[in-house]
Amino acid sequence: MKLKNDLRRCRFENNEMSQQELANAVGVTRLTIHSIEKGKFNPSVTLALKIARYFNKPLEEVFYLEKY
């Protein structure tokens, strides 16, 4: 099962913040946020929790497993 995410939607709902702004907020590079959004990099639990907490959402609303 593949890990999917709603990061892009979350960013746009949060005043259309840029990837760089989110990267600064959670302490990673812009390329890491970009790779997570594209589904090419699975973040650690710590980073996933940091991102979810930043958007003030439960983890499962930002990251979820692909349904078959």
Binding site: Q20, A23, N24, G27, T29, L31, K38, K40, F41
Partner: protein, 304 residues
């Protein structure tokens, strides 16, 4: 930052144009000197006549190189996207700067050896001039293209920079590839076509290795200076850790395969005996090339 970059861009552009004119002058001088040696003319008085103007032009070259390197570092800081041309110019800028001192040493050798015929140093001297030319022309291209975008570019706040990391991989690839080529060609040529005393071959290999590796050492040093303000555990973010871990595994496997192949070739083909002299720089440049290219591949693969 924007203002400083604009001033640095413009100063470098002016020095670059002057340096191109100077490069034409020095090349005309070297061609005339070569012809004079072939025709057995009065080389000594010719060199005396032009020594001061040529030395003055070389001072301008040095100023231009220092200004260009400062501009490149400012651009690396300012533009938050990696750029291969910028990395290539950082690499050629440093090698070209080192070759300015090489030109001086070669000219000194030529002035001592011309009485015995046309010195071979002219080949290296003209190769060095070609390197300077490539650097000067591409520097103009970069300065003109970025000069417009400096004003438009937004000054973004970047807490964790990835462009230096990617640019360091580009420079690692250039250093690794050029080091492998230079060391292999140099040692192969001198052990077969132009046999040299062992000390001279060793000195040649050390000098070519240093010229190839110094740009990488400097960019890593620059990256290290930037990272000093962070804790060691935060030098890479988690994706960069994953990329360099994968790249290390690729480097380990690929370097074992290549070094085994080199060992077998050397064992069975006597012409490849030169590797006994160069195995250490050969291995260093191979590892540098493999590690930088695989790190770049893993970083870029996720971005596309």
């Amino acid at each position: 930052m924007k203002r400083l970059l604009k001033i640095s861009n413009n100063t470098t552009l002016v020095l670059c144009v002057i340096s191109i004119a100077g490069l034409i002058f020095t090349n005309v001088f070297f061609i005339m000197l070569r012809n004079m040696i072939i025709e057995m003319g009065d080389v000594e008085s010719f060199m005396d006549k032009f020594s001061v103007p040529v030395a003055s032009v070389y001072i301008i070259f040095t100023l231009f190189h220092l200004s260009a390197l400062l501009t490149l570092i400012l651009q690396l800081n300012f533009f938050k996207r990696d750029n291969f041309l910028r990395s290539f110019l950082f690499f050629t800028g440093i090698t070209s700067l080192m070759m300015l001192f090489g030109d001086s040493a070669l000219s000194s050798d030529i002035s001592k050896e011309y009485v015995f015929g046309l010195p071979d140093e002219f080949y290296i001297l003209f190769l060095s001039q070609a390197l300077h030319f490539v650097f000067y022309v591409l520097m103009i291209v970069l300065l003109v293209s970025t000069g417009k975008s400096v004003g438009k570019e937004k000054e973004e706040i970047v807490l964790k920079d990835d462009s230096i990391f990617i640019n360091a991989q580009y420079i690692g690839i250039l250093s690794g590839a050029s080091g492998l080529i230079l060391v292999s060609v140099f040692s192969f040529m001198y052990s077969t076509l132009y046999p040299l005393p062992l000390w001279a071959a060793k000195a040649g290999i050390i000098i070519t290795s240093l010229i190839a590796v110094i740009p990488y050492v400097l960019i890593v040093f620059y990256w290290f200076i930037i990272k000093l303000k962070e804790r060691t555990g935060e030098w890479y973010d988690e994706k960069q850790y994953q990329d360099i871990t994968k790249a290390s595994l690729v480097t380990l496997i690929a370097s074992i395969i290549v070094m085994t192949a080199v060992f077998l070739i050397q064992y069975y083909v006597s012409e490849f005996d030169f590797i006994t002299l160069t195995w250490f720089p050969f291995y260093i440049f191979l590892v540098l090339l493999l590690f930088s290219s695989s790190t770049l591949y893993f970083s870029k693969r996720a971005a596309n």
